[in-house]
């Protein structure tokens, strides 16, 4: 193992090493002539995109087309080809944090693709909608794109928030900008992305937003690079110096004179060193503090993909990872190391060779054994080399057999992590993620990444392995299955069955509305409908069904849900279509046919909105005569115009007739007649009496009050008022108005059909005992007569009548009443 550490490089006091991850000789990637390409690699072991560089005339094999972008995995597998002929001239490419390919075209449009070449959407970046400007410089990072256009405007687009690109400060024309970088929002003071620029005139400008910027006058700078920690800036000056400073420029951390020209690339290797790459010389220079450097000479062009803890180097032959040697690896594999980890590793070597020294070594480090096991485990995770990893695990395992109390959970957890990382690093998957990166993004983002790479099965297995719940994975699988499977007429059924089978098999809870929406967006309406009916929530189903113009289904579902708002959602959609003349009333009514609840709600809505035209139409169509009649009557009651009232009553009576409701038909006719009669009366009486809105009884009563008995009687006849009711009206009116003489005359006029008790009562209601007494003798029922006399305290008369009845009980009753009355009177006097 001593040879291992021999290949390490020392920079200042830090050790660096290159690990080979994949051999690429036989892969599709090895076919590319790398020097002729513009490229961009995605972080966390993501894919790399290559696009022919227009500025270089390098001959490619005939397979390579100049208007295409080729996406490869780090293991050299071709993942996708993107045709850019619809994007115009592409000036730069890059990746966002979800491994989507970002292409910026010269006319300031950002096109976003999946790594497999499907265009997802695009964003136009311009100051105003009318004016677009050519891109001068641009910078793509994991959540956004910054563009400096030829007008000098800086525009920053956020790829994850739905808002229009933000305009930053405008740079005056005379300033020539050489390079641009971004301080991502998570590192900036303003909590939004800030833009770093270096100008030909020697200024370093930090644009914070539309208004503010900070400028430092230094010397002309040609390249900029912010460290992955976001705190330290490296720049390369026009005269060949590399400078590293803090962002505030209050401390220069490193200065190194390369005596060279502007490098092709200036990138960070982790956070501790800077790499300068000159493509022409195929020279990679790693620069550290105190003028220390390491030089790597390559035979051919290489591509550099910075990661948070190192750098991926891709050539036609290999994919390597250049990084600091992790402390645990150093402590185990450094020549002559006697750290516990190194001793345990040594012990295991002995153990494998059946050397008894193994036991002795472990006894020596017994007190540090726990640390040693941990170190070996961490070292194993950090290793890309499977053989070495295996040895480290074995060493840890050996140590564990000596230490029963070692935390088994910890051991198992690390082994799980190793297994997962190994699985995603295999050639077929090709995601060489480091342990640091894995820890940083977490398992859930790793699963997401796998799904973005369409490694659904692996994602599923991992979630099952870790017992994380695989619902989301299955959901995504179903969506991708619909999005990317071949379009054939009879496929819908097939895909639906496949998806449902898997969901049932795995007992997953997925959002059917999400999957169905994907199907709809993919233009597979039938499939979408088949899927949406599995969704248990109507509030999900209805909007989607509407969007696919499946109105009847949407209506039925909404009605079934008993949620009126959902029914209204469908109705409003239909009403909008009616308004825009996409459908006719006839279409509308035919859609509502037999859907009672929807009809009820529409009637209610139109009623509340006073949309008479439609309301009448609908009710007519449904032959709901009684409802139309009721509607008309409502209008009659609201109006105070005689013509309108009579006309509307006529319509109402017609509708009642259609409904075979003779009684209400008559009532409407009578009411119409009454209104006319009242109107005539008002004219005749020169409007001295207001009959408007009065009932038949009230009309008669009003006439009697005005001593027009003749007309009153006429109306009685006209409206077939019964004698009994008429008599009651007359006597109540006379009594109420204290027209005693009229009352008396009326009593004499005929034999009363209602007897004479009512006469007494109406008088008593007016508290007129005198008038009341007048009618008591005419009451036939003697007992009643007595009762009234008692009530009026006419005890003598009461006794007389009682005498005729010859009933002692009644006499006794009278006597009692008399005494009570006396007592009460006494009390009152007191």
């Amino acid at each position: 193992m001593s040879t291992y550490s021999a290949s390490w490089d020392l920079l200042h006091n830090i050790k660096y090493y290159k690990q080979e991850i994949y051999r690429l000789e036989e892969t599709e990637l090895s076919q590319l002539e790398l020097s002729g390409f513009l490229y961009a690699g995605s972080k966390n072991g993501g894919p790399i995109a290559f696009m022919v560089d227009y500025t270089k005339a390098v001959k490619q094999t005939s397979m390579i087309l100049s208007n295409r972008i080729y996406v490869f995995s780090s293991s050299g597998k071709l993942l996708g080809e993107i045709d850019t002929k619809d994007c115009g001239k592409v000036v730069d490419i890059g990746w966002d944090k979800e491994d989507r390919l970002i292409c910026v075209s010269l006319d300031s449009i950002i096109h976003i693709f999946s790594m497999f070449g499907d265009e997802l959407h695009s964003i136009t970046v311009s100051k105003t909608s009318k004016m677009t400007s050519m891109v001068n410089l641009c910078k793509i990072w994991d959540t956004g794109v910054a563009i400096l256009n030829e007008a000098g405007d800086i525009l920053v687009a956020d790829l994850f928030k739905k808002k229009s690109p933000a305009l930053y400060k405008t740079i005056p024309f005379e300033k020539d900008i050489y390079d641009m970088d971004i301080i991502p929002a998570q590192f900036s003071n303003s909590r939004q992305p800030e833009v770093l620029l270096c100008s030909s005139t020697g200024e370093l400008i930090t644009c914070v937003d539309f208004e503010s910027s900070v400028e430092y006058a230094i010397e002309p700078v040609v390249k900029l690079s912010l460290s992955p920690s976001g705190k330290i800036l490296a720049y390369f000056t026009k005269n060949g110096k590399l400078v590293v400073t803090t962002l505030k420029h209050d401390q220069i951390l490193l200065q190194f004179d390369t005596k060279g020209s502007c490098p092709t690339k200036l990138v960070w290797c982790g956070t501790d060193s800077i790499l300068c790459y000159w493509e022409k010389k195929n020279l990679l220079l790693m620069i550290g503090p105190n003028d220390t450097y390491v030089q790597y000479q390559y035979g051919d062009t290489i591509c550099l993909v910075p990661e948070i803890d190192g750098i991926r180097i891709i050539s036609n032959q290999t994919c390597e990872f250049l990084s600091r040697v992790p402390d645990v690896i150093e402590s185990i594999f450094e020549i002559g190391s006697d750290s516990p980890g190194a001793m345990l590793f040594e012990a295991n070597q002995c153990f494998e060779q059946m050397d008894s020294r193994a036991d002795k070594i472990i006894r020596v480090i017994k007190s540090d054994l726990s640390q040693a096991i941990k170190d070996c485990l961490i070292a194993a995770i950090s290793e890309f080399d499977l053989e070495r990893q295996n040895l480290l695990i074995k060493a840890a395992n050996l140590g564990k057999t000596y230490l029963r109390e070692f935390d088994h959970g910890y051991f198992a957890e690390k082994i799980k992590e190793i297994r997962i990382l190994n699985q995603i690093r295999v050639y077929l998957v090709g995601i060489p993620m480091t342990y640091n990166e894995y820890k940083k993004i977490g398992i859930r983002n790793l699963i997401k990444k796998l799904l973005n790479h369409r490694n659904h099965l692996l994602a599923y297995e991992i979630t099952r392995y870790l017992k994380l719940g695989s619902d989301k994975v299955l959901e995504r699988w179903a969506c991708d299955k619909i999005r990317y499977s071949e379009r054939q007429a009879d496929e819908d059924e097939n895909i639906h069955d496949q998806i449902m089978k898997k969901i049932k098999q795995t007992k997953s809870k997925v959002s059917y509305v999400k999957i169905a929406t994907v199907a709809r967006d993919a233009g597979r309406k039938k499939l979408a409908i088949k899927l949406i009916i599995h969704d248990p929530r109507s509030s999900n189903q209805v909007p989607l069904l509407i969007s696919m113009n499946k109105i009847e289904m949407a209506l039925d579902e909404a009605i079934n849900s008993r949620d009126d708002d959902l029914i209204y959602l469908v109705l409003f959609h239909l009403l909008n279509e009616l308004k825009s003349l996409s459908i006719t009333e006839k279409d509308l009514f035919s859609k509502l046919k037999n859907r009672e609840k929807a009809i009820e709600l529409l009637i209610l809505y139109w009623k509340k909105n006073n949309d008479e035209k439609h309301l009448q139409m609908l009710l007519e169509g449904l032959e709901r005569h009684r409802d139309i009649a009721a509607l008309n009557i409502e209008k009659v009651l609201e109006s105070d115009k005689i013509d309108f009232k009579t006309n509307t009553l006529k319509r109402a009576s017609g509708k009642f007739e259609q409904d075979k409701n003779v009684f209400y038909k008559q009532m409407c006719e009578q009411q119409s007649k009454l209104i006319m009669v009242q109107h005539e009366l008002e004219l005749k009486k020169k409007r001295s009496i207001d009959f408007f809105g009065k009932s038949v009884n009230e009309t008669i009563s009003l006439l009697l009050q005005n001593r027009d008995q003749k007309t009153a009687y006429k109306i009685k006849k006209q409206f077939k008022v019964s004698d009994k009711r008429y008599w009651w009206i007359v006597i109540s009116t006379y009594a109420k108005n204290r027209m005693w003489e009229n009352l008396s005359l009326f009593a004499e006029s005929k034999n009363s059909p209602i007897g004479y008790e009512p006469f007494v009562r109406v008088c008593l209601n007016q508290l007129s005992k005198k008038e009341a007494a007048r009618y008591i003798p005419r009451i036939k029922n003697m007992k009643k007569r007595v009762d009234f006399y008692i009530q009026l305290e006419m005890f003598r008369q009461a006794s007389d009548v009682a005498g005729q009845l010859k009933d002692d009980n009644i006499l006794k009753q009278i006597q009692e009443a008399k005494e009570i009355s006396k007592k009460l009177k006494k009390k009152q006097y007191k």
Partner: protein
């Protein structure tokens, strides 16, 4: 004695419903900083006052309170909260107001708070009026509120007009309020429902129960839910209530547990009406509210004697200890004393109104005659109309007549309808058609269904004093609604035992759902054998005080093992029921 919930576990918890609503209110106010103006839908003023009191308003920085009516008002406060029922007609008022306010100050923060839930039509209307963007829309789910120890109401929604319009839009809200109830009190173990609306609510409940219930709700505090659709029994509200509480409601009108009385009723002077709270916290009231008027006199006399004796113990108290005991007894005694004075006055006034020779007494006699054996009182009804008695009373009695004899003969039917239209005005064509829609008034067709109901369910029993039967709440008539509920407890097979009666004579449907598996329930019931079963009865479309009294009587019978909590969309009496059928303008 009234069901004293303070002794059961549920009452402590019933306050949770109120607290939850109050918390929700505070949360909404905290959406903004600074002073707040509330602008209320007039229909919400009263319900809101049930749960939000002045100190809470102050705490929430509400400095101005307006009602949203036609007239304009201006305020300098820039944080405005409109509390609205989702009524279309309110939207234009809000829009007008928002527009005028925007002219005054552009920095207004406006919230439209829909109670209890947003509605698509209102949002559409706001959009049409061009103010949808100017305000934030939120919901305030003012659901079931305790009205008394054992009564819950949904104050923000009345469900009477809906009975006529067959408008089922509120049923979802009712179901949601019951779901929320279960969040606090656990899952119902069984649901029994009767009537179409109840079936719909039960259906929604069942759907949600199976889909989204948490473990926390496993612990059921309320065993059973009974959902009663008012349309199953529209007769009972029409019958004059003859309990103390019911009669107060009939004569003075109870509103949210308060009554407004003329000062002379209480032997006082002045012309401002006096508000008296009537609920279970009143020690005398809780004893007498469910009593039949005719037994009250005796009871009150006994109570007076009892209190007098206790006061008298002062003179017999000799030792210091005895005196101390007496002093301790004083505050509750004085409270009782005071309360007794009030109730004596109210009682005497009621006796005067219902006593011998009074119009009301005669009417009650007629009414009971009809209910007891379907007597026909057409002459009396005619006279009521000729005397131009209050139309509410005429229609109540006419409807009762129509129901008990299975509809009016063609000639009578037309006769009475015409007399009513001629006497009370053409607008009552609307009233009459509505009553016909409800089935309260109808032409005789087929047999008399009420007869068999009366026989089979023993709807009339004037031996109620002896048997302590629920029929005492109407002096002989036992409310059909409560008789039906009683069947669930008296007969092992519940409503199945009267399947034919419900389906054919009542013409409605019923159902029963077991939500907790049998084996689990038996485990629970082992513990519950010692305590009474708790049952929530939800009345869709209202319940009368007499019916509530009847339920209380049921739970106090010797062999009863159930206690009731009553929930309702609204309180109801005969006049209110009749009035809902009036045309809009006449209400």
């Amino acid at each position: 004695m009234a069901l004293n919930l303070s002794e059961t576990q549920v009452l402590d918890n019933i306050q949770i419903l109120l607290e939850d609503i109050q918390n929700e209110f505070v949360k909404i106010c905290n959406l903004v900083k600074g002073d707040i103006a509330l602008i209320l839908d007039p229909e919400l003023s009263l319900p809101l006052s049930l749960c939000v009191d002045p100190p809470l308003l102050k705490k929430c920085r509400v400095t101005k309170l307006y009602e949203l009516k036609d007239q304009d008002f201006q305020t300098t406060i820039t944080k405005l909260f409109f509390y609205l029922k989702p009524r279309l007609e309110m939207m234009s008022l809000v829009a007008d107001y928002i527009r005028s306010q925007e002219k005054v100050s552009s920095s207004c923060e406006i919230f439209i708070v829909f109670v209890p839930r947003r509605s698509m039509i209102c949002e559409k209307e706001l959009e049409k009026l061009g103010v949808l963007g100017a305000a934030s829309l939120i919901e305030f789910q003012m659901d079931l509120l305790p009205l008394d120890g054992d009564i819950l109401t949904l104050p923000n929604l009345s469900f009477t007009r809906e009975l006529i319009d067959n408008d089922t839009s509120q049923l979802l809200n009712i179901a949601k309020s019951l779901i929320k109830f279960q969040v606090f009190f656990g899952k119902f173990q069984t649901i029994d429902w009767i009537g179409e609306y109840s079936g719909i609510v039960s259906d929604i409940l069942q759907k949600t129960i199976t889909s989204s219930f948490s473990k926390k709700m496993e612990n059921s505090k309320v065993d059973q839910l009974i959902i009663f659709d008012r349309r199953v029994d529209l007769l009972s509200p029409l019958v004059t209530q003859l309990t103390y509480e019911g009669l107060i409601d009939e004569i003075h009108g109870l509103q949210n547990g308060n009554v407004l009385l003329n000062p002379e009723v209480l032997g006082q002077r002045g012309n401002k009406k006096i508000r008296i709270p009537l609920n279970s916290t009143d020690p005398i009231y809780s004893l007498i509210r469910d009593k039949n008027m005719s037994t009250m006199g005796e009871f009150l006399k006994r109570t007076i004697k009892n209190i007098a004796e206790k006061y008298g113990s002062r003179t017999s108290a000799k030792t210091l200890g005895e005196l101390k005991d007496f002093v301790k007894m004083l505050p509750p005694l004085q409270k009782k004393h005071h309360s007794l004075g009030t109730h004596l006055s109210i009682y005497q006034d009621l006796v005067r109104i219902t006593g011998g020779g009074s119009v009301l007494k005669k009417r009650i006699e007629i009414e009971l005659g009809m209910l007891a054996d379907g007597e026909k009182h057409f002459d009396y009804l005619k006279e009521l109309i000729y005397r131009e008695e209050d139309i509410n009373i005429v229609l109540r009695l006419l409807c009762i007549q129509s129901i008990v004899i299975g509809g009016l003969k063609n000639k009578q039917f037309d006769f009475f309808r015409r007399e009513i239209v001629h006497t009370y005005g053409f607008e009552h064509v609307v009233t009459l058609t509505n009553l016909e829609k409800l089935g309260l008034l109808k032409k005789k067709e087929g047999g008399n269904t009420f007869n068999s109901l009366r026989k089979n369910l023993k709807l009339f029993d004037d031996n109620f004093f002896k048997t302590n039967d629920i029929s005492l709440v109407h002096s002989g008539y036992a409310p059909l609604s409560i008789r039906l509920i009683q069947k669930l407890f008296d007969n092992k097979n519940g409503w199945k035992s009267i399947d034919d009666l419900i389906k054919n004579n009542l013409g409605t449907n019923y159902g029963s759902i077991e939500l907790v598996p049998k084996e689990k329930k038996s485990q629970n019931s082992k513990i519950q054998n010692f305590t009474k079963k708790l049952c929530l009865v939800f009345f869709i479309g209202g319940v009368t005080y007499a019916e509530i009294s009847a339920l209380r009587i049921l739970s106090q019978r010797e062999n009863s093992n159930v206690e009731f909590i009553i929930a309702t969309t609204n309180m109801l009496n005969g006049n209110q029921l009749i009035r809902t059928s009036f045309p809009e303008k006449e209400k």
